[in-house]
Symmetry: D2
Subunit: 278 residues, 4 copies
């Protein structure tokens, strides 16, 4: 039976990798529909994303690739299907709404399991889309206590990624470590400019002529994780910081959705503190 | 009682206009919160948008301005309040959804009266937002007959603007003439490139490296009305025209919403077949 | 002896191409430093640009590749060295100057053979850079007569590409056919908008909010050849068309130089009336 | 005799300023060719740039304006003429070359007095343009000693602005204070990201998807002065930091020349640590 799979390989660079890998495909009579490679010479890492089609068994293909490629390789053979995501939000609806509308439109290859928020502001909004909404207030408890409740709820769902759609709380290392390379955040500045709180106020105070937005994987270091996508918006002296915040929202939502689409499409490899994007 | 108004003036250029107009404000003790002017030297037209605050009577202020400015002037004194809009759509939800989410978020200074569509595809989607949805199918009738039904429905609402949020039907001159400078359209190309049907297919066939979107007022000439806003998205040889269409949607929705915001803010003057935007 | 070569392959798509090609490299112990492929599914064409390094004989490598790839394939093995270019200009110095400064700076992998212009305006300017300048006035002769003189002069030089750095004359089919896929032009608009004369005046008259520049290979159809690079610049109602022209110059020179760099780097394949750019 | 002047006003905001100023113009029968205002509400500052034409005496006009506007106002009446600039450079020619080509082309309203460099690399290049070139080596002396030599040389010329066209030395407070609001620098990053040395290396290490360039007035705080212009260039994982450096050069030169043009046109007001740009 004809089918399609994405083959993702991340390993130490070596001579002959393309040959060996393409030989595995060739020997099975597979078509290469799409193929991209990258060698990080500084760190001697090889990255490859190939879309193959034909008649094959996923496990057999994976085993054959593993047999041919050095021991430390990270190899995946993925049949395209909707990934499962959990959305975290606070009060703002623009980034969340952009994802919900795309989802309703069938544009995202994802199943949204639920939205979890630390305020109930977005409850009506989310339920319009027939998505489960959970409100876990943070008042009167420690950051750790609140996160524990959130993590317990997350634990009740299957999921591939957690998307912070303007979730305005700082995460503890415990939370971050629990979901490595699985948490995607949108930061409302052109990182690494304006790390931390209220980046639009910072941008206004600095008098920049361009503001930006950055989608990145979340790691222990606040706003320092691997960057997936960035975009910018021109501004000028006439904008107050509230105006910048308003203008910046378009960038935020577009960049977050673009990053999410890339991730759902298995186009993003994490390479140390950077990304390789095919 | 302190209040705010937008004073919009569009008249033949003449010496002393800024002086005469600012004198009217000064004599009434009004503050100028914001002021922008433009002189179209080629056509000898003067445009001015001033936000004034203070204690004043709208009619008295308007009369004073009219007394001081030559006869052909188009002068408006507008107290900021939500404008009323009607949305027309077909099957796609991205541009429409962007407006609905902004509206739900309180970001648009507008009241959405209803959505009218020639297909029922978007009915559930629109009703999630508690906005009246009307389906007027076009099957089995002439363009004129269909438009008459649409116009009759429009006639039952108060409205300031009609927004074509990917309304995929060509309008007759009768329709267009009925709502001069009131219909805003989003065209899915960087006009004047790729006028007419399927611009993404045209862009793909031409092999361009950038695609775009254009929001404009609708006039008799298809895709030839005054342009309000444009934006572009880089593409490359790897994109099929379907990919371009998908990538282009982000530009379409952002540009249409940006144009709508400018119009709702009374920042757009029509100047012949162009716009002046403050 | 270790060396580097760019292997460029353009052929009918077929199963196993990547395998067969990478096997040729593998059998010779070559490193793949860089590799990019593209399959145009609509037209069933396969494109590949690989940078290999190691000890090899160019002819032997080329023959081995030819033996393995179907008959219609266009295969090149190119050792990186400066390409030879001829510049044609008229009166404006910005696009020409940008190339001359980059060349003086050692940034371009090119040897500039000469500048040919139909006016003598740029003579002093060009000679500052120690580049031969030839003035071939067009006055008092037919287009064909003038071109014959230009072609005769071109014929006295070795060259890989002819760059029209704001050469403001329309070329005859005879001229264009003499140098297929060798003539690079900069058009001062975002093609296909504003084809033909005075695109900035056209853009001004249309009231666009963005202007552009397009670098393309020249073919028989005026401004219709394969596009190599494009860029845009935001404009507004305050700009006269002369202002647009001035603002547009930055785009023109950057886009032309970017296209030239891509071509000199052997990154541009012509695919029908489009380009594939690696 | 008809002439034109730029009237630049920067003062504490107050009611009636536009009226009072336009009255001065009106009473003298002057045309307002162009007029832009901005009120910084946070700091209660009023900025205005008006181009007037007609028959007037500069001193009389200036005195009339001063009589009408509160004591702390900074008022200038400037008749357009070439400003004088001094260029400082090190070894790179792209930003310097861009200015020299524009100057040779008559595009800049400036007279270049000389180029001063701490290396002799650019000597031949600069002299091609018939611009005096001075080499002041920094070897074997302290920063202060070197700057003293540079300042002594600068002192021998009349000048309005000093342009650092990739002058790769850090300036002492003494130098900076000697030329307040007169030194324009290009920083090769999107400030405030990547302050300090080797910003492309920093950008590469951080894995950003966009790099930038920033033109700003130089103040005591390194890379912290008022920003005049910024622009960005998309990058990806395939670029080494040397590639980013190369790609970034286009942004650097365009942004510096754009900032310089704005300054020469008297369009830039310094407002604390920010700029107002008309």
């Amino acid at each position: 039976m004809e089918k399609t799979a994405r083959v993702l390989i991340d390993c130490k660079d070596a001579k002959g990798l393309v040959y060996k890998i393409s030989k595995v495909f060739y020997d099975r009579g597979l078509n290469i529909d799409n193929n991209r490679e990258f060698v990080d010479k500084e760190n001697e890492r090889f990255f490859m994303r190939t879309v193959v089609s034909g008649a094959f068994d996923v496990k057999e293909l994976l085993d054959a690739l593993k047999a041919d490629i050095p021991g430390d390789a990270h190899i995946r053979v993925i049949e395209p299907e909707d990934k499962k995501i959990i959305l975290l939000a606070t009060k703002e609806s623009h980034a969340l709404g952009d994802i919900l509308v795309r989802h309703a439109d069938g544009e995202l290859d994802a199943q949204i399991q639920c939205v979890i928020a630390n305020h109930d502001t977005l409850q009506t909004f989310v339920r319009r889309f027939d998505i489960p909404f959970f409100h876990i207030p943070a008042e009167g408890m420690s950051r750790e206590e609140h996160e524990e409740l959130v993590m317990r709820l997350i634990g009740e769902f299957e999921f591939d990624y957690i998307v912070l759609a303007k979730y305005m709380r700082i995460l503890t290392p415990t939370f971050v470590k629990a979901y490595p390379e699985q948490i995607i955040n949108i930061h409302h500045s052109f990182l690494p400019a304006f790390i931390g709180a209220n980046p639009y106020k910072q941008a206004f105070d600095r008098g920049v002529k361009i503001i930006g937005a950055t989608a990145h994987f979340v790691t222990d270091d606040l706003d320092e994780g691997p960057i997936i996508a960035q975009d910018v918006i021109p501004v000028n002296h006439r904008l107050t910081w509230k105006d910048m915040q308003r203008a910046g929202r378009d960038g935020e939502k577009i960049v977050l959705s673009r990053a999410l689409t890339l991730v759902l499409d298995d186009r993003v490899f994490v390479n140390g503190n950077k990304t390789v994007i095919f």
